[in-house]
């Protein structure tokens, strides 16, 4: 019980520090903007640890963060093998193929106003559908290995990227296009120098949505059959064997990967669309 009280005290202290920081005159400094959420996260982890230890929760139900971290450190070889199978082979190849295909199709379709008008509502609708359900079908078509996972990812990321790119290509204003025409710019020049750069904020929006979808697709597809490695495989068998610490270690890998890839895409976005108002604040 006292352990939990200690954790609660730590949480309150962290909150007080955060509140003071948020009201102080350094509140807009970049260091503070990082410290506050990190402290908040640490306080939550402390509360979790304290609750598990203080109330003696069985590790089969909810393991403490420290024991998950220990398991993580002890199983890096296994976790790396799963990461290789699910993220690098399944999700990444599917992400590259799906986003690339969607981008090309969007640029091609953009030449026809009729097709654009027809495809936007359809694409928007399909992007909102639970496409993950297609996973068992694709696993039976492409076999158990990473190819079927990549196929699921391709289908899942295609429509969000397509819709966003098509919308982005419509972003350049009539005035800007007229200016290009006064320069006697060809279709290709207008596309490369004006319309694609103007579309980039939208494209990156689609790419960011697609990063999470890619991981979800690759993991769900493994629930329907996979070789004896991969994050989804390890999670479903781990739950069956009540090896909950390993499952949480895999979840941690998935969470870190998701955040890291999202951060990476955001970084590239900042580099590519440095001119956009949302990046200049």
């Amino acid at each position: 019980m006292s352990v939990f009280g200690l954790a609660l005290l730590f949480w309150l202290a962290a909150w007080a520090v955060n509140a003071a920081l948020a009201r102080s005159r350094w509140r807009d400094a970049s260091g503070v903007r990082v410290v506050v959420p990190v402290l908040f996260g640490a306080a939550i982890l402390g509360l979790w640890e304290g609750a598990v230890r203080g109330f003696g929760v069985s590790p089969v139900i909810l393991p403490a963060p420290s024991s998950v971290a220990a398991r993580f450190a002890g199983e890096t070889g296994l976790l790396w093998e799963d990461f290789l199978q699910t993220v690098l082979k399944g999700a990444l190849s599917g992400y590259a193929i799906g986003c690339g295909a969607a981008f090309l199709v969007a640029v091609l379709i953009d030449r026809s106003r009729f097709l654009t008008r027809g495809l936007l509502p359809v694409g928007n609708f399909v992007a909102a559908l639970p496409i993950v359900g297609i996973a068992p079908i694709l696993v039976s078509w492409f076999g158990f290995d990473w190819q079927s996972k990549a196929a699921v990812v391709v289908v899942m990321v295609f429509f969000p990227v397509l819709v966003n790119t098509v919308q982005g290509l419509a972003e350049a204003s009539a005035m800007q296009k007229d200016l290009m025409r006064t320069y006697a710019a060809s279709y290709l020049q207008t596309l490369l120098k004006l319309r694609l750069p103007a579309a980039m904020p939208f494209v990156f929006n689609g790419l960011k949505i697609a990063t999470t979808l890619a991981l979800i697709g690759a993991i769900v597809a493994e629930y329907f059959g996979s070789p004896t490695r991969g994050m989804g495989f390890r999670i479903s068998t781990g739950v069956g064997r009540l090896d909950i610490e390993l499952v949480w270690a895999e979840i941690a890998v998935a969470a870190l990967t998701g955040s890291a890839v999202f951060g990476l895409v955001s970084l590239v976005e900042r580099w590519v669309t440095f001119w956009h108002p949302s990046q200049r604040s």
Partner: protein, 311 residues
Amino acid sequence: MSARLLPVLAVLSGLLALWYGAVGPMNIRQALDLAERKGVAVQPEGALARQEVSAFVLMARNPGEVARGYALERPRLPTPGQVAGELWATTGEMALRGRGFSKRSLIYHGWITLQSTLAGFALGTALGVLGAVMIVYSRTMEMSLMPWAIISQTVPIVALAPMIIVLSGQAGIEGRGLPKAIISAYLCYFPVLVGMVKGLRAPTREQLDLLRTYNAGGVAGFLKLRLPASMPYLFTSLKVGIAAALVGTIVGELPTGAISGLGARILIGDQFGNPMAIWAALFAAAILAGVLVTLLGGVQGMVLKRMGMAV
């Protein structure tokens, strides 16, 4: 209206034609295996020999057997007509015979999925609105919570789904309704949170100042200015949120051995090698998503019109 309807119809029929055309090459091997078992001469003989030849060559050498691929019982890729037939057989036809809620009907499974979706949607919307209010009114909350809200959406929830089911089972919660609702709430709260933060901050400096000259307190300012101003943003995010909630429910049903719900139909169709059941459940889910989003759009139109905000 027709200016927008015609292109959509053209794209849809294009997709349908593409699908119909793909059925031939996808099913030709299965069709030839079946024909050979029935004693029809096919080129080349033996399933193993046909493995070496591409589907299009097989179609060219056995033009008489292509049609068989469009009428298989358990096809690799069913035709649109077959899927529509299965969908009707498990919904409308069963309802006409008065067995609409039998466990074999998709109406029953759709209802199970809809319940969890709505529960998760309600939970997620409540969390999202609450979070947005806290973020708008407390700077500490904004600085600590907002980054984690963004990070939470980069975590693939499916990794957590089996854990949530096990946890709630250990905690003595009966049934699968609640864990599924938690998963869909997890996917649904984020768009609502982001939209509401934007919406609650929509009033301009002048409007807020005007309220101060009326000597309005914090509660009145919230109820009479910030909340009404946020309605267009709220409805836009609700439409995204309910689609996300449906995805969450189906994801919650898929990997966990559920026995009822549209996701469970997909799972069972996979385990019993019945692709038609998978396709029918997929399309039922798509129809459900369309109906839910359209309904919310209708409510949005009505509410905004009454509030004088309709565009």
